[in-house]
Assembly symmetry: C2
Homo-oligomer: 239 residues x 2
């Protein structure tokens, strides 16, 4: 039996992969890459192209539909878990690659649950990856937190009420997946006096990266799916 590796490949820049991830990706027998749409390339796979060898390694591209409809998601998760387990049980090391970190808003979390329930004997190792939050802060050179500051991370889909509550209590609020609520978020930032203490980062680490620090630029922009905002309390924005 072989180990299953969940490999965080970071935000999308091949140089922001860890040395450990590189070592495991070079030697894995099977690499499983997620895509949300069969017509699009896998961002995770594009990030690791230079390490893999398609003649020696089996590359599987698996579709996970971009939906919250569990009746469509569960079969996709189950199928991926079955493929992974099948290889691992016959002694082939599998690396499931994931953008960012495998335990932070990643599809791997659902696969982990199924693998543990159905094949508890298969060893699983998680290789952490640079999260889009740390990569975005680095690109915008905005501090995430210091000293006794508290930070909240909120998917914008959790709702404007949750975002407003966090802004009132936390020195730093990171909003993920901002596109579906973008207009409401901008309105909230105006209302709470945060227009000078926010950065917007889209597709960090990729050639299509965009970093906006001026609120007027954010107002003029239509955000991409992979976009986030880092919002500081005005008093906490010291640089």
């Amino acid at each position: 039996m072989a180990t299953v590796y969940a490999v965080g490949v970071g935000p999308g820049d091949p140089e922001l992969i860890t040395r450990k991830a590189e070592r495991i990706l070079r030697r894995a027998d099977v690499i499983l890459a997620p895509v949300s749409n069969p017509s699009e390339a896998s961002v995770a796979l594009d990030t690791i192209r230079e390490f893999i060898n398609e003649e020696r390694q089996t590359i599987i591209i698996h579709q996970f539909p971009m939906t919250s409809d569990k009746s469509r998601l569960i079969p996709a998760w189950q199928e991926a878990a079955t493929i992974i387990a099948g290889h691992a049980l016959t002694g082939r090391e599998v690396a499931f690659i994931t953008i960012g970190d495998p335990l932070f808003y990643s599809t791997f979390i659902y696969l982990l649950r199924l693998l543990r329930e159905q094949w508890p004997q298969i060893p699983i190792e998680i290789i952490p990856g640079i999260s889009s939050i740390n990569a975005a802060a680095a690109q915008a050179t905005i501090t995430l937190a210091e000293s006794e500051e508290k930070m909240a991370v909120i998917p914008a889909t959790a709702g404007i009420g949750q975002i407003a509550a966090a802004l009132a209590q936390f020195e730093t609020v990171v909003l993920l997946k901002v596109r579906p609520r973008y207009a409401d978020i901008l309105e909230l930032l105006c209302r709470t006096g945060r227009t000078d203490s926010v950065v917007f980062v889209e597709r960090v680490g990729s050639p299509r990266q965009k970093v906006l620090t001026l609120f007027s630029d954010m107002e003029a922009h239509s955000p991409d799916y992979l976009s986030l905002m880092i919002i500081k309390q005005p008093a906490a924005l010291k640089n």
Copy 2:
């Protein structure tokens, strides 16, 4: 004039350094490593030993006292910023190394502020690093957040009231620097029914790493300075 790099070296495992960090560390002219106590080794420097060449590169170990007394901290920050600027202005690339990520509870944040104020002409580049949070979650195989879950990160020094408020509102609460409030935290976890939905991780990624998943083991333990806890809402702990 040369660029100043703030290089996140991750939690302490040389394999959890990014390829970009490795490239910059191998070529930097000057490497500045922080220590809190002159009698102790620099954890960041120990992490990168295999990449550096003390014959070609200048290695500077700089002490930042472990205190909240600004009258002792500010001179240490100012001295480090002056050293960094001095090298950069004469064309020598400086890499300031930091455990974890340079913009997340790191000493570099204070240096960044001084460098920007006093030498705004010096270019600064931030290389993100794997945070202890992602590394600890990977070691404990505990999910940080999924779907619409919200996550709060709180230094325990912020106080038990802040921790209790976050536990009531967030699916995941990460507590950093738990040692000074350890007994109070354990009591709070008992009172709020979280004894089965918490992990404790100390010195993640180092040879002295400790991962505790049983509350009774946490009660019997005296935590180290570099320790954290990941606490899930009981309903959110699905694996």
